[in-house]
Symmetry: C3
Subunit: 153 residues, 3 copies
Amino acid sequence: MSYEAKLQQLGIELPAPPKPVATYIPAVQAGELLFLSGVIPLRDGKLAVEGKLGKDLTIEQGYEAARIALLNALAVIHQELGTLDRVRRIVRLVGHVASAAGFVQQPAVINGASDLLVRVFEEAGRHARVAVGAAELPLNAPVELELIVHISG
Amino acid sequence: MSYEAKLQQLGIELPAPPKPVATYIPAVQAGELLFLSGVIPLRDGKLAVEGKLGKDLTIEQGYEAARIALLNALAVIHQELGTLDRVRRIVRLVGHVASAAGFVQQPAVINGASDLLVRVFEEAGRHARVAVGAAELPLNAPVELELIVHISG
Amino acid sequence: MSYEAKLQQLGIELPAPPKPVATYIPAVQAGELLFLSGVIPLRDGKLAVEGKLGKDLTIEQGYEAARIALLNALAVIHQELGTLDRVRRIVRLVGHVASAAGFVQQPAVINGASDLLVRVFEEAGRHARVAVGAAELPLNAPVELELIVHISG
């Protein structure tokens, strides 16, 4: 089954990809690697979830924020490649989690993105991952994701 | 116009590239990608701007710090490649901004680097970008930048 | 001398590689680059060093934590490639250091990883590096390392 069909089967509708807001752009391809700009949990141009883990949000809310941020990443990949079916492998995900003092469960939050990657891309979605706690994130986002994707020519 | 000529036209003089201070080096090439070590706003071996955003510095000062850090990155690229004209594309910039509690305008700070990249490299300078808030940065730097550059052989 | 022999000569025994704990995996190869998941100072499945720099730990303890985290990275590389001798170059190391307010000596901590890379891989171990201060890290780890390795086919 194609990844596009898989998305549909899962009932996932991609959001409009985030618009470039400055002199940077949503993604750059170098050779067979696609490097994405950081994505945050935007929905209709606004943060769907806001605040810090360990203070404002539960782990479940953080997990959902990571899932929504990942949908934005998928929308960027779709926009750049024309179709998700040109994804050969999700290479690496770095997940930054806005963390209040003492919050050390960043991995449980970033699972919201990792789980969705595997649901959509199956084996090709299994990625290397880094989860870290940020002091603050843009617009008070709880989560920001960096993705590198291996694509076919 | 070559990027070297563009630099001159913009009246930009590159600083001496930062010296390796430990067992790491300023940049490593792998295939057609050049990975740079983190750069901070050094000038003549000292921080030109110091402190945290949201506490010690205005956004304008942070923007200027990002611009100076980027000059250090350009100096490293020039040193590694012999000339900026071997730059094929700026691939990705990660900008870490030392952020006091509640400071969430990291993108406005990192624009100091992004804007200069586009001024020098034009279309080839449009990059993927990630802006995050760090708890602390080396030497009390306000900004640290990571760059990946696609180069021609 | 092969890197495997070098390890032995240095009296270094690799730990069991960290087990995948979620939907991500220890490393992904894309072309000639190997991207590792974040590693923390685990020993026998537990953190060998815990806490923040600038509060709970001295720089020497942080240095040792970075060294242990790097051993975990070497174990992953060994597991992925079958032998360290397929390492062509250590490309880039990003070191996240859990930092209490005012701690700005992240580079001195990450030297624990950098020094070991050069001891094992000599010239091929000289890498690009980024050291930043994280607000918090998973499980209260003092250090988390991201590695990219250039490998031979």
